[in-house]
């Protein structure tokens, strides 16, 4: 294939491309813009070729930055953008549109000689996502109202506010209550997920004693652990730091991890919680002697709605939302969550978060 042949092929690809394409050279100077990119931005070839990309297309995001250009002035950085970040490109008339962008470096003789930027207008995609999140939020609220009044009525039936129930009826009401609580938890998780997806995780930080918060969760889960004869152990290596954090979110994270450990550990097993902190970071781990996570499924563990095959088989309840919520919150605090697991032996989950000084 000779050069003119190759050029003809590339030209056909670029013409047929349904996305905008802009190619920059050294110092981010625009060297090419295709027809679709002209249509999307309102600029034409003559007006912008030779100008700097940043000058024509200042990057605007919905969360104040984290994007921009690398030090060498060439590579366009999108890779480490925060989850939920939306990039906007500015049209010639000054209006913006949300752009889905991918970039790749043009390497010539081992050096970066420019960047190819491919983009499309994702207005419709975003509005579909918003409609989905809104739907989840609205239905969840609609469900929570009746589930909540059922809860209170059932609790009142059990505590004798409507008169004493026969023993058999008490057992039945208790089971209905358990189901009601399960649905409430699911609805609460769905609401949390829809907030995470919209980048609207509620955050009401206050000075929180993290060791205290963990002990509180353990106390609440102790009864469940005892009912399975599981030894639930707490170990604090140092005095835990106070951290300026949303206590409810922190509790959600710890509760999810410990209750998972208890849930997936068979009777007479052991669950051990270890906390450790210094002036820089807070470390948490929870180890169990449970069923473990199959190696092939470990990669997908933090995905939404994902549940490992052996977890589903175990008949333990779960929505597949808990770990997704855990990961979102921990990363939101600038922390990290990970695990080590061996199928049939057990799992240890870890997370660490930086200590923000009071």
């Amino acid at each position: 294939m000779d050069l003119s042949d190759l050029t003809a092929r590339y030209e056909a690809v670029i013409r047929g491309l349904g996305s905008g394409l802009i190619i920059t050279g050294l110092l981010n100077k625009i060297s090419f813009i295709n027809d679709k990119a002209c249509e999307l931005t309102g600029w034409n070839q003559e007006e912008i070729v030779g100008k700097s990309f940043e000058e024509i297309f200042p990057i605007v995001t919905n969360d104040q930055g984290k994007s921009g250009f690398s030090q060498d002035g060439v590579l366009f950085q999108l890779a480490n953008s925060a989850k939920g970040t939306v990039y906007y490109l500015t049209r010639k008339d000054g209006t913006n549109f949300p752009a889905g962008m991918t970039t790749s470096s043009i390497i010539v003789g081992g050096k970066v000689a420019g960047t190819a930027i491919v983009f499309s207008d994702i207005t419709e995609k975003l509005s579909a996502e918003k409609a989905k999140s809104d739907f989840i939020a609205i239905t969840s609220h609609q469900l929570r109202t009746p589930l909540g009044s059922m809860r209170w009525n059932l609790e009142m039936l059990l505590s004798g506010d409507y008169g004493q129930l026969p023993q058999e009826a008490k057992i039945a009401v208790d089971q209905v209550l358990e189901n009601d609580m399960r649905m409430l938890e699911m609805v609460n998780n769905l609401l949390d997920v829809s907030r995470i997806d919209q980048g609207r995780v509620p955050n009401l930080p206050t000075s929180t004693d993290l060791g205290d918060a963990v002990r509180q969760v353990i106390k609440e889960l102790d009864l469940t652990a005892k009912s399975k004869a599981i030894n639930l152990i707490y170990e604090s290596k140092t005095i835990c730091p106070r951290v300026n954090i949303d206590p409810k979110r922190f509790r959600d994270v710890v509760e999810n991890l410990i209750s998972n450990a208890v849930k997936y550990t068979p009777e007479h097993g052991e669950v051990k919680v270890v906390v450790d902190g210094n002036e820089k970071e807070f470390n948490f781990s929870v180890s169990d002697t449970g069923m473990g996570i199959p190696l092939a499924e470990q990669e997908r563990l933090f995905h939404r709605f994902f549940r490992a095959a052996n977890a589903i088989k175990s008949q333990a309840d779960g929505s597949g939302l808990g770990l997704y919520i855990v990961k979102s919150y921990v990363e939101n605090w600038g922390g990290k969550v990970w695990f080590k697991s061996e199928e049939g032996k057990g799992t240890t989950f870890y997370f660490k978060i930086p200590v923000v000084l009071q």
Partner: protein, 123 residues
């Protein structure tokens, strides 16, 4: 000693029934109305020791009701609690800023905790 008087604005018939039975069990006098404007009218007639407000109600919602109640000279110090199914942090903050003493989420607290919290407030 006179019974403490609790005024409740709630439009959901299921919650209404729960409040009526539970508050009587706890030994309180209770008046339940279906929206915020009626709550304001009732509060003018007899000063409540505690006011519980739902958030989403016809005619006058929880936010507007807090505002209206706090303008009544007799009710500057009366405890007002929002009892809502909504759990948005912004709603909570807005209610507190308008003068609510606290914001409780219905579905997330056991009924006995509701009873205990009310008893503590009125002690």
């Amino acid at each position: 000693m006179d019974k403490k008087y609790i005024l409740i604005a709630e439009d959901d018939k299921f919650y209404t029934n729960i409040y009526r039975v539970k508050m009587a069990k706890l030994g309180y006098d209770v008046m339940i109305v279906g929206d915020g404007s009626q709550a304001v009218e009732e509060a003018k007639k007899r000063r409540p020791d505690l006011i519980l407000l739902d958030m989403i109600m016809p005619v006058m919602d929880g936010f507007e009701t807090i505002k209206a109640l706090r303008q009544l000279p007799d009710l500057k110090e009366t405890k007002i609690i929002i009892l809502s199914s909504l759990s948005q942090a912004e709603d909570r903050q807005k209610a507190i800023d308008l003068g609510a003493n606290d914001y409780w989420i219905k579905a997330n607290m056991p009924i006995n905790e509701l009873g205990d919290s009310i008893q503590k407030l009125l002690a």
